[in-house]
Symmetry: C2
Subunit: 302 residues, 2 copies
């Protein structure tokens, strides 16, 4: 395939050049070091106005209200149903996410996955006017295909729920469950009359998969370091730095959401230096490759 | 390939028949449910007179003694060097294993893996008179090949150290790092002048990967349940029960070490019922398939 025919949704420019150069260099990297780690929300798929997982949680809450109206009275759920940003901020997104995850307590892993898949079959993104399963970035899918052609092991390293992303990762990205590293819910192991069962708890196992945890979890769960990583927010910085701290060919990509017309325009900021700094400034300072959605992508969605 | 030409190191009999039947039935199982989980020590490779990992640890201890003779005075190491079973039992294998794992505290993951690979290049199994990397069971390698031909995802689920097995899993079994689930050592994340570093600690992350932990760790780390599992000791029972608690085609194999001539004859016993019970009796009670090393395997080692 000629260079011009590859990555058809990437416009000529610095970002595309950096990718094509990396793909060429990667051919001389030993196969078992060809590892790629991609953040999910905002990197492989749209994360606005809220995370897809959050939409799924709210949908699940609404369905459960039909049989248990008392859920309305819980502060976390009232804030969610009221859709009041100030109230949600006051309670804290982490506490709200835990409360929402608790809606699935007691479920077998297969039952949870089935509920996620049902949601993804029918849910639509209202502002974008397309099925939720199609708010995935076409240029990134093309990059995954190029990496797969080079026998890369491709992992999704998400701050979101591991099991949520696993339920859709194969259909959306061709990524099997064991290559999803995210925030884990612990399971209870029980010996029921009909055999061993695993049931979801409402407890997070270890730390939320953001920042430094992304790096340690890549090592403990995958056992190999990436030479290419992509992200879009402060929680991806450590993973991007880790991927580039090697003598091998390497590439760090930062998606810049600067396309209010086709997607959203917003700035992810890092607060690691006391003051906040735009993730694009962090990228520039570290020599990472910024990807302008507006300029570098001829097509946004699959 | 005709049935007779498959699995050439398996003698005709009940075990081989059960495997061939399972492989046929598995063809109608959806591809993403074709998951296999194999214990390592005593199931894929020889675990007598001690685990390969223990031999590696002792070798590392001896090498470190050359530069730090004071290690001799630590009770755990004195017991190991004295090779006194009573003393080792008095201290407890878990405490000894933790002390030995502590020899590698501060190492980067790649440095630890390199040390393991160096050991495996030169170590020999004295009684068996063959390289340590060749005390792997040929019939099990043939089974892995058959499963791979059916696109099974094959995981190694070991009570041993995850990173130890990862360092050799590709060379020994064709299994990539992310498909090894074992006992994990935690890492320290540090920002050094030369970039982010991960360093081994002496702390175990979560529980040792035995018994019920094998089942919960399969779910959290792999995200899919096996329909075939193989083991040889009490710590594999829950995994074997989990693999067979499905309406899909399934198979649980228990390796019976009954071959004093070609390998070792010893009985793994389960203590879960208060009294101890041979793992072969547990297998019979559960309808699992026992594999007699003496009777079912025409060749033992690769």
């Amino acid at each position: 395939v000629s260079d011009a025919a590859r990555l058809p949704s990437w416009r000529p420019g610095k970002a595309r050049n950096a990718i094509v150069r990396f793909l060429g260099d990667a051919e001389s990297v030993p196969r078992d070091e060809r590892v790629a780690c991609f953040d999910n929300d905002g990197t492989l798929c749209c994360e606005q106005p809220t995370y897809i997982q959050y939409e799924f949680f709210v949908d699940a809450l609404r369905r459960r209200l039909a049989s248990d109206a008392s859920l309305r009275t819980r502060a976390e759920f009232a804030a969610v149903l009221g859709n009041d940003p100030a109230e949600i901020a006051a309670i804290g997104l982490e506490r709200i996410a835990l409360a929402l995850a608790g809606l699935f307590e007691g479920l077998a892993p297969e039952a949870f996955a089935a509920e996620v898949r049902d949601f993804m079959t029918t849910a639509t993104h209202r502002r974008l006017g397309r099925p939720m399963r199609e708010v995935v970035y076409q240029p990134m899918l093309e990059l995954l295909d190029e990496l797969r052609a080079l026998d890369f092991t491709i992992a999704i390293v998400t701050g979101g729920g591991t099991e949520f992303v696993r339920a859709i990762s194969n259909a959306l990205y061709g990524t099997p469950a064991e290559l999803v590293v995210g925030t884990l819910i612990a399971y209870d192991f029980t010996r029921a009359p009909d055999g061993i069962q695993l049931r979801r708890t409402a407890r997070v196992l270890g730390d939320a998969n953001e920042g430094a945890a992304k790096v340690t979890n890549i090592q403990t769960q995958l056992g190999r370091r990436p030479i290419i990583a992509a992200g879009n927010s402060a929680g991806d910085q450590e993973m991007l730095a880790w991927a580039t701290n090697t003598t091998r060919a390497n590439l760090a990509l930062v998606i810049d959401h600067d396309d209010a017309e086709r997607e959203y325009a917003y700035e992810s900021r890092s607060a690691t230096l006391g003051e906040t700094e735009a993730i694009t400034a962090v990228a520039k300072r570290n020599g990472w490759t910024a990807v302008s959605m507006a300029d570098d992508w001829s097509t946004v969605f699959r």
